[in-house]
């Protein structure tokens, strides 16, 4: 089992939950390829379709009601809130769904992976392969992040019912809900209720990073490996927050308009999980929560996230967390060739050798930088504090560029 043990720091944000569902503005990023169906000045309601993203054919839906303004460079749609709310009520439960019904539901609700990758969920299920196993990823192996945990604790029954419906519809034989070892709250919540569902198993995975990585989960739980996608082995992996979004779509006919985001870190004045609308500017949420000065603001987890852009960044379906950590100067020193980056690399490549040869494509061919998943363990573990991951990513881009 390859991985590193990190301080979890999860308890910080577990005690507080807030909703921030009426922001004054939302900004929905669009690209030039997208087909936009509204124009500046239009009045839209929450949930209305504003256009379609062409890449994956997903609807772009307004997360609040208000007046539309399309930015001059056509990079986002701005909606000014007029305060009108839509309430979604629970629909009558249907006994059986067809595959097509569920697929169209997933697609029209705009559901995509909420663990970080943002891949459309309907594509995962519209496969010719037989799906044997559904792995529900509730590991959240990065420190601080608890949005998935809160989601489970708040909506355990709905999540389990949804899994059950998915299994029935796609004739999935078994489901494994993967949680971190030593998370008693989650375990209890899931186990007491999951016992009613025969084919749903709750599995604890080791407290290691990057255990929540799809490939690591499949390796650990199913003892198998795949080339590109888990479906090659009849496996679909969904994040637990994604399952909840599916639940809302099935039971409330509600598209993906909001999500739970963890706001945490030592420099966050009031660490909290906040339910926020997609498209909310992150800086406006941070103003409410309060951030200490001299903070490093991070979008995503402390390992795989990136520096937050206060001007630009908005909440996306894939936004799991926003962190404020104390700023630290890191001084790089010469590599002592201790080999810790290689020893701990989950992709089993040699980061420091890739760094040394990052210009040399002939050597890089053998070192396989394409296998890097940017988990950041190499930079984390390095005693000389070298930015190893950056160099590997550079080499990876170089090799990818070469192939094209």
């Amino acid at each position: 089992m390859i991985g590193v043990s990190l301080k979890k720091k999860k308890e910080m944000s577990m005690q507080c939950f807030e909703s921030y569902l009426q922001p004054e503005d939302v900004y929905l990023p669009i690209t030039r390829e997208d087909k936009i169906l509204v124009k500046t000045g239009d009045l839209v309601k929450e949930g209305d379709i504003l256009g379609r993203s062409m890449k994956y054919d997903l609807p772009i839906r307004s997360s609040i009601s208000g007046r539309v303004q399309i930015s001059s460079d056509a990079s986002y749609i701005h909606i000014q809130n007029n305060g009108e709310e839509i309430t979604y009520t629970k629909k009558k439960e249907k006994k059986n769904y067809t595959k097509e019904e569920i697929l169209s539901l997933l697609k029209e609700a705009g559901i995509c992976g909420m663990g970080g990758a943002g891949f459309p969920t309907y594509i995962k299920y519209s496969t010719k392969e037989k799906i044997n196993t559904l792995i529900v990823n509730a590991v959240a192996c990065e420190p601080y992040i608890t949005s998935d945990y809160v989601c489970i604790l708040k909506h355990t029954n709905m999540i389990l019912d949804t899994i059950s419906i998915l299994m029935q519809t796609f004739a999935i034989k078994e489901c494994v809900i993967a949680i971190k070892a030593k998370s008693p709250l989650l375990k209890e919540a899931l186990l007491t209720r999951a016992s009613a569902y025969k084919k749903i198993k709750v599995s604890e995975v080791p407290n290691l990073y990057p255990m929540g990585w799809e490939r690591a989960l499949v390796r650990y739980l199913k003892h198998t490996d795949y080339k590109n996608l888990p479906i090659e082995k009849g496996i679909v992996v969904n994040n637990v927050s994604t399952i909840y979004a599916i639940a809302e779509a099935i039971f409330y006919q509600k598209p993906l308009l909001d999500r739970i985001v963890t706001f945490s870190g030592e420099n966050m004045k009031k660490p909290c999980n906040v339910k926020v609308k997609i498209g909310t500017k992150i800086s406006t949420i941070l103003e409410k929560i309060g951030v200490c000065s001299k903070s490093t603001l991070i979008l995503g987890g402390p390992m795989m996230g990136r520096e937050l852009d206060l001007e630009q960044d908005v909440i996306l379906p894939s936004t799991t967390s926003v962190l404020a950590l104390p700023s630290k100067e890191i001084e790089e020193s010469p590599c002592i060739r201790c080999g810790k980056c290689t020893e701990n690399c989950p992709s089993k490549i040699s980061p420091i050798l890739i760094r040394e040869n990052k210009e040399n494509e002939e050597v890089l061919k053998h070192l396989n930088p394409e296998a890097c998943i940017a988990c950041g363990i190499c930079s984390y573990i390095c005693p000389a504090k070298i930015l190893v991951k950056e160099a590997v990513q550079e080499a990876k881009d170089r090799m990818r560029g070469r192939k094209k």
Partner: protein
């Protein structure tokens, strides 16, 4: 834009180096006690003799400091502040400290200073400083010292401290190996120094840092737990030596004490734990480390049996330093681990078989004759027969002229010897040659001169071998 990770592991280069230093402290204190305090308390050493081990370490370390400081300040032309900062990242302590722990105890202070200078400058700074050197700096310094001043230091007492020089015959356990018949026996290899437990404790002759097996093993456990050293290297290195010497021993019908003797003798444990694991000069990849260690083991065994170098650790490590890039290339290539390992492991296996076979072959031949004995010249003069022969002694070959008539040795004249003066004087004082001549009928029963066992034994062997040659003895 900055990307993750925004967290850093608490481990840092300077913490690792601190732990390395802590691991060396008990070894240093033990060396001071064994070579300084204990001989002083027993009346063998003066006060100067008592602090000599510390002086050796101090001079070596200070020379490292001064050489590196001067190099950065003058050759690299850095300002005062920059030099200070670079020195902090240079870990100047280690070349000098390691060097002083592995050189012979009787190395004069000015020679350790030269060797330490060579270690720091030639072994490290000229490559670009800490993190860039190809070879282990301390070993470079030691190699220089032993190559150019080895015989001189040996004549001054070599590895023996003031106490051992008087009490023990005059050789370290490993230099003794080449003097005994065949691969040796428990009585000839271990007994002169006590029991294997003495080897474990470290109360045997050897370099300051190298004798105490238990402290080395303790350091290994500590450093592995703290993730400072690459634990695979010492494990596989020592394991390989144990296995190969075990096979050689087994084929010669000796017990498990034999491979144990080999791993506890000389600088193997210290070298495997501290020198072979030097991060900068050892492989990065796991597979590279395992192959590196196995090859080190095979090389060390080869050197110990088949070359004039009794020790083999220093030369093995410096040799293998050269192969680190190749081993890492194997270790970092695509494909799964077992596939990558298969061919190199097979090659190591075949190499090991070849080496062991060669050793066993060589040492079985010697059962018919003494490999340390050579007849240089042989002539007949009437009834007399004159032999000029050489026999391996402590410092080199002892050449003697013996005249035999009617099955009796008439004269025994030593023509040339390179023995340590102090020891040889003891042989002369005992009129040992006359004693041998007088008692040639019951030559096997003649005792060696205590305190100069090896030199006197060589003379006794000369006599026996000539008597055998003349057909008197069988």
């Amino acid at each position: 834009m900055r990307t993750g990770p925004f967290l850093r592991h608490e481990n840092a280069t300077n913490k690792m180096m601190k732990n390395l230093f802590f691991a060396l402290l008990p070894i240093l204190f033990f060396g001071f006690y064994k070579n300084g305090i204990a001989p002083f308390l027993k009346g063998y050493a003066t006060i100067y003799g008592m602090i000599y081990p510390l002086l050796l370490v101090f001079v070596s370390v200070m020379t490292s400091y001064v050489s590196e400081y001067t190099f950065i300040r003058i050759i690299k032309k850095r300002g005062k502040e920059d030099t200070k900062r670079e020195m902090k990242q240079s870990f100047w302590l280690f070349p000098g400290l390691f060097l002083s722990l592995i050189v012979p105890y009787n190395t004069p202070l000015f020679l350790i200073a030269i060797a330490s200078f060579i270690a720091s400058i030639l072994g490290k700074m000229l490559y670009g400083g800490f993190g860039y050197n190809l070879f282990n700096p301390a070993l470079i310094g030691c190699l220089f010292l032993l190559t150019f001043y080895g015989p001189q230091i040996t004549s001054m007492g070599g590895y023996l401290n003031t106490e051992e020089i008087r009490v023990i015959s005059g050789a370290t356990p490993l230099s003794n190996v080449s003097l005994v018949e065949g691969i040796g026996s428990y009585d000839t290899l271990v007994k002169p120094y006590g029991t294997l437990f003495d080897f474990f404790l470290g109360t045997i002759p050897g370099a300051i840092g190298e004798t105490s097996a238990c402290l080395c093993i303790f350091a290994f456990l500590f450093l592995s737990y703290k993730r400072v050293i690459k634990w695979k290297i010492p494990t596989f290195y020592i394991g390989t030596v144990f296995l190969l010497t075990g096979i050689v021993g087994g084929m010669n019908g000796v017990g498990i004490w034999y491979p144990t003797f080999h791993i506890l003798s000389g600088g193997l444990l210290f070298g495997a734990i501290f020198m072979a694991t030097d991060p900068i000069t050892s492989p990065i990849t796991s597979i590279g480390q395992v192959l590196y260690a196995i090859l080190l083991g095979i090389l060390t065994v080869t050197f110990r049996y088949l070359s004039p170098l009794p020790e083999g650790v220093l030369t093995s490590i410096l040799t293998m330093n050269l192969f680190v890039p190749i081993l890492d290339k194997i270790g970092s290539s695509r494909g799964n681990a077992s596939k990558k390992m298969a061919f190199p492991l097979l090659a190591c296996f075949l190499l090991a078989i070849f080496v062991v076979q060669h050793i066993v072959g060589q040492y079985t031949q010697t059962e018919t004759g003494d490999p340390n004995f050579t007849i240089v010249h042989e002539e007949e003069d009437g009834n007399k027969k004159i032999y000029i022969v050489t026999q391996k002694g402590n410092g080199g070959l002892i050449q003697s002229k013996l005249t035999v008539e009617n099955g009796k040795v008439l004269s025994f004249q030593v023509l040339e010897e390179q023995e340590t003066d102090a020891y040889y004087q003891m042989v002369l004082d005992a009129n040992y040659v006359d004693l041998l001549l007088k008692n040639q009928d019951k030559i096997e029963e003649v005792d060696t001169v205590s305190g100069a066992t090896i030199s006197s034994k060589a003379l006794k062997k000369t006599m026996i071998n000539v008597l055998k040659e003349a057909g008197v003895l069988k």
